[in-house]
């Protein structure tokens, strides 16, 4: 049973990393959003599995949150925004997709090396989880830094945060996980889409971050 | 009693240099004239000139200040004292330790300082020329002189002229001594404003240095200035004499006979030096002002070389 449990957790977490790669691969916003939904689903699945393993019912809340909020509401909302603001649908990568993928590989390798140096004192399950979580976090950062559109950056940030949730749930019996996941969801939803998009909407025609940088702080 | 005697000797020396200075100049002038087949002025002409100048009324430029009238006296006094401190016929005079060689050079510096200021006082262009060139020459001559002093101090271990005159004969011949001699001669020529650095007999030439400074002087002031010049020449001659041909200089407490011998010998030294200088001046032409630095630079180098040689050889 433990091996089975282990493998499943491994599978789900690994799946999350895989989906992160798919996210990196995307070149259209809608596609990106769909994949992000899948990302969230994968997250909620692994969280649920963790909840089952650790026998921690409160984690189901997190799983449900991930499923409902991240897999459904956010993608829909973003899709709305894209339509309303008439953002053009292509993702403008800074460097070529393939290059980004290579960098991603490197990051995953790094994550593995860093984490697997850790001796087995920590529960192996936690170790694997952490390794994957770190990989997801790094990939999310990579996405934020290699995409120009605001939406794709936000998506990158959210995938990063999924990695955090993964790590948090992977940690045996960590308190405040639910609260933290809530806080983060609210952070994302409330702030990103809320005031800021609104204010920026009222100032600029697009949330493409480039527009924000016409003014460079000093060029007065 | 002894003190009084010493004081008397000291006073004698002062009067001696004062009396001998014009004579030396007169002799040089006459010799030069003879060398160029002129009859030349009589030996005592300088005394006559001085006396005549002294009795004339002094004509002073309108905007000349008190400094202009003070300077001649300072120059004269400083030079005189300096000249009196150089042993002429006897060493170890009562006040000879009032100043060593460095102080004597510095005294001449004081005289020069006032002379140059006097040149600037009336505010004419000639005075300025003279002062600035004089100071430029001095700025090179003084280090050379210092090097000469170093060499002596290294050989004899003293800057006290009496000691030097007393000890140097025992030292014997030294390369560095020779170098020092050349350096000293060059410096002396430059400082006393002789050819080839300056021409004491010239006027109204843009090349003149010393004469330009004192251009505005007349009457008793001019007399004092001239006398100071004579004294300076005498000082250098007797300096060379007492350092490089110290033979016959009377030791202190030697009694009267050696003193008289020293006196005679001193006179002889002056004559020889004067003749040599005259020959030197007639055979050489005056150089352009901006060649002078190179001339003096050579002296500085020689002095430094001599010093270094001494330093090195002092090791063994």
């Amino acid at each position: 049973m433990p091996s089975m449990a282990f493998d499943t957790a491994h599978l789900l977490a690994g799946g999350l990393v895989l989906v992160s790669f798919v996210l990196l691969y995307q070149d259209r916003l809608y596609g990106l959003l769909n994949i992000y939904a899948i990302h969230a689903v994968a997250l909620s699945a692994s969280v649920a599995w963790q909840a089952y393993l650790q026998g921690a019912p409160h984690l189901y809340v997190t799983a449900g949150l991930a499923l409902g909020f991240k897999a459904v509401i956010i993608p829909v909302a973003l899709r709305r925004i894209i339509e309303r603001l008439g953002i053009h649908r292509e993702i403008e990568p800074v460097v070529g997709i393939s290059l980004t993928m290579l960098a991603g590989m490197g990051l995953v390798a790094l994550a593995m090396v860093v984490m697997l140096k850790v001796t087995t004192e920590a529960a192996p399950l936690a170790r694997e989880d952490l390794a994957f979580a770190l990989a997801v976090v790094l990939l999310g950062l990579l996405m934020m830094t290699t995409r120009r559109n605001a939406v794709s950056q936000v998506v990158g940030f959210m995938s990063l945060e999924n990695g955090l949730i993964l790590a948090a749930t992977g940690a045996q019996g960590m308190p405040l996980v639910v609260e933290i996941s809530f806080a983060f969801s609210i952070l994302i939803a409330f702030i990103v889409i809320g005031i800021f998009l609104f204010r920026i909407r009222e100032r600029f025609d697009t949330v493409d971050l480039q527009a924000l940088h016409r003014f460079r702080g000093e060029a007065r | 009693m002894a003190l009084i005697l010493d004081l008397a000797v000291q006073g004698l020396q002062m009067l001696l240099v004062l009396a001998a200075a014009p004579l030396l100049t007169g002799m040089i002038r006459r010799t030069k004239a003879r060398l160029v087949r002129r009859r030349g002025p009589p030996l005592l002409q300088p005394y006559r000139d001085l006396w005549r100048l002294l009795r004339k009324e002094a004509v002073v430029a309108e905007n000349a200040s008190w400094l202009f009238r003070l300077a001649p006296y300072v120059m004269f006094a400083a030079t005189w004292v300096a000249a009196a401190l150089v042993p002429t016929f006897a060493t170890g005079l009562v006040f000879s330790w009032a100043a060593d060689l460095i102080a004597i050079i510095a005294l001449l510096g004081t005289a020069r300082f006032f002379q140059a200021l006097a040149g600037m006082d009336v505010g004419t262009s000639f005075g300025g020329i003279g002062s600035s060139r004089e100071m430029m020459i001095a700025s090179l001559a003084e280090p050379a002189m210092m090097m000469f002093v170093f060499t002596l101090a290294l050989i004899v271990g003293s800057t006290q002229l009496s000691t030097i005159a007393a000890l140097l004969p025992s030292v014997g011949l030294r390369v560095s001594l020779g170098l020092a001699l050349v350096a000293l001669v060059i410096v002396a020529v430059a400082e006393t404003g002789r050819i080839p650095v300056d021409n004491p007999a010239t006027h109204l030439e843009l090349t003149m240095v010393h004469e330009a400074m004192v251009l505005e002087y007349s009457g008793r002031h001019l007399a004092l200035v001239e006398l100071a010049t004579y004294l300076k020449l005498l000082l250098y001659v007797s300096l060379i004499a007492c350092v490089f041909v110290p033979w016959g200089i009377a030791r202190d407490g030697g009694g009267t006979v050696p003193a008289l011998v020293g006196l005679v010998l001193y006179g002889a030294k002056l004559v020889i030096a004067g003749i040599l200088l005259a020959i030197f001046e007639t055979t050489i032409a005056k150089m352009r002002v901006f060649r002078v630095p190179e001339f003096l630079g050579a002296a500085l180098m020689l002095g430094l070389l001599g010093t270094l040689l001494r330093f090195v050889s002092a090791g063994f």
Binding site: V118, E121, Q172, L176, I191, F196, R199, R203, E218 | -
Partner: protein, 482 residues
């Protein structure tokens, strides 16, 4: 034993209650007054912590020698700033740069900020501390954007994005710490409580601790404003209202630094863990040199002092990274002096930019002629942060440099070069600001000089004389810091 009032509770509840009331109250003056009052009460509570017996350490709350320094300092700066902000914001309203509508939640936000920082400081739980700092960040984001101008919004947006990434990294580090602690201490809150962690840190898994510290250093380092994760700081300082700039430099940076320090102590407790010193030293040095060079090309006075904050945070981090009783003492002293001096400077700068109607350095000049008091106060402040006696910063810089040079000369020389480059820049700007031909408007300044003078006076006194109790206390803290 039960005190008539619980200082810690007051520390936390006063701002919270005040925030609630302020959010509802109408009328600007009333709000400003209440704001000052609440800050005063908070300060009183903090001060009482010094004298009354320490409250027992709970599961969530903790008051010990380390954080009490920060609490008192923070609530003091908070109080003076609230007093300053009253006059400042009044002037903004009169000149119409801020509409009352914008200001509706200003004071409430201010109190929320106070609450968040106090919470971060007294929390005994790394998760709770994280939440508190997160809250503080969000509040300041909103306040930075309050002018709603092009620039302000961009600054806020930048601050927000970078801040949240930093927060995310910090959270990851926190989780890692829990993961390290959990096998040793066991599941649940205990594995996140400082007191527990400190007790058992020796048995933790060192390699994982290292990874955790990397994330925490970068995450909270973003808040501290260390290069290269500093980017939000200058613009936030430049574009937000000046009271917020003062609070940021004088308070928020310290709180984030406090978090870093806590974890540093934790790692220092574990022998096998790779010492956090070198990393902190490296980042500190980078920040010093970077900040010093960035001072030169600044055109905006507030942004310039923002960069100077980066430089000084670098010095402090450097000092703590070096460790040892002298360097740690110096670090604490420098932190105190810097937050006082820098917020004092921002008070002065706030009045100056209000009088001159601009923040452009090129448009401000000859202040000692036109506004002697403001001008000379600015001179004193800049001289202070330039590290010249008789002001307090000199003492700490003296200790940092002298204690470092004997141990690692290369670092000390690099530090000295950075310091002198920064000093050159500050003096260059000071020349054109305070001296020379007057530029800009000559109208007299309507401002209360009290907060500014108080700060500078304290810095001056500290430069001349450090009271013995303070010293022994700092020394104790320094020994804790290891």
């Amino acid at each position: 034993m039960t005190l008539p009032f619980d200082p810690v509770a007051t520390l936390l509840l006063t701002p919270l209650a005040a925030a609630a009331v302020l959010a509802l109250l109408p009328g600007f003056r009333l709000k400003a007054g209440l704001n000052v009052l609440a800050s005063l009460v908070t300060l009183a509570a903090a001060a009482s912590l010094l004298f009354s017996a320490r409250p027992a350490t709970g599961k969530f709350l903790l008051v010990d020698d380390l954080n009490i320094v920060f609490i008192v300092l923070g609530s003091f700066v908070g109080f003076t700033t609230s007093a300053f902000s009253a006059t400042y914001v009044q002037h903004e309203i009169d000149t119409g740069r801020l509409a009352p509508a914008h200001l509706r939640f200003y004071h409430a936000m201010y109190q929320v900020l106070m609450f968040a920082m106090n919470l971060a400081l007294v929390s005994n739980n790394i998760g709770l501390m994280w939440v508190a700092i997160e809250l503080a960040t969000l509040t300041t984001v909103v306040m930075v954007g309050i002018y709603r101008t092009h620039e302000a919004l961009e600054a806020a947006w930048k601050y927000f994005i970078l801040g949240s990434v930093g927060i995310a990294l910090a959270l990851f580090g926190t989780i890692l710490v829990y993961v390290v602690a959990q096998p040793v201490i066991g599941e649940g809150l205990d594995s996140m409580a400082w007191t527990e962690l400190m007790g058992r840190v020796g048995e933790f898994e060192p390699a994982l601790l290292n990874v955790a510290f990397v994330f925490l250093l970068l995450g909270y380092g973003t808040k501290v404003g260390l290069a290269p994760v500093h980017a939000w700081l200058p613009d936030a300082h430049a574009e937000g209202p000046t009271p917020i700039s003062a609070v940021l430099s004088g308070l928020l940076l310290n709180v984030a630094l406090y978090a870093v320090l806590r974890f540093k102590i934790l790692l220092a407790g574990n022998g096998a863990a790779f010492a956090p010193g070198p990393m902190m030293t490296a980042m500190g040095l980078t920040s010093v040199v970077f900040g010093a060079f960035m001072l030169y090309r600044r055109r905006d006075i507030k942004r310039m002092f923002g960069y100077s904050s980066i430089e000084h945070m670098g010095i402090i981090t450097f000092a703590f990274g070096m460790g040892g009783p002298l360097a740690n003492f110096a670090g604490l002293l420098h932190m105190t002096m810097h937050s006082l001096a820098k917020s004092g400077i921002f008070f002065a700068v706030g009045h100056i930019s209000q009088v001159k109607g601009t923040q452009r350095i090129a448009d401000i000049g000859g202040l000692t002629v036109t506004h002697p008091f403001l001008g000379w106060s600015l001179v004193v402040g800049v001289v202070a942060i330039a590290g010249l006696p008789p002001l307090g910063v000199f003492t700490s810089e003296f200790l940092v440099v002298s204690s470092t040079f004997a141990r690692t000369p290369v670092l000390a020389i690099a530090l000295v070069l950075g310091l002198s480059v920064g000093l050159g820049a500050l003096l260059l700007r000071l020349n054109s600001l305070a001296f020379g031909e007057p530029r800009g408007s000559l109208q007299p300044a309507r401002a209360s000089y009290l907060p500014m003078s108080a700060h500078l006076a304290i810095v001056l006194c500290a430069g001349l004389y450090l009271p013995a109790p303070l010293v022994t206390w700092f020394q104790h803290v320094a020994s804790i810091l290891g």
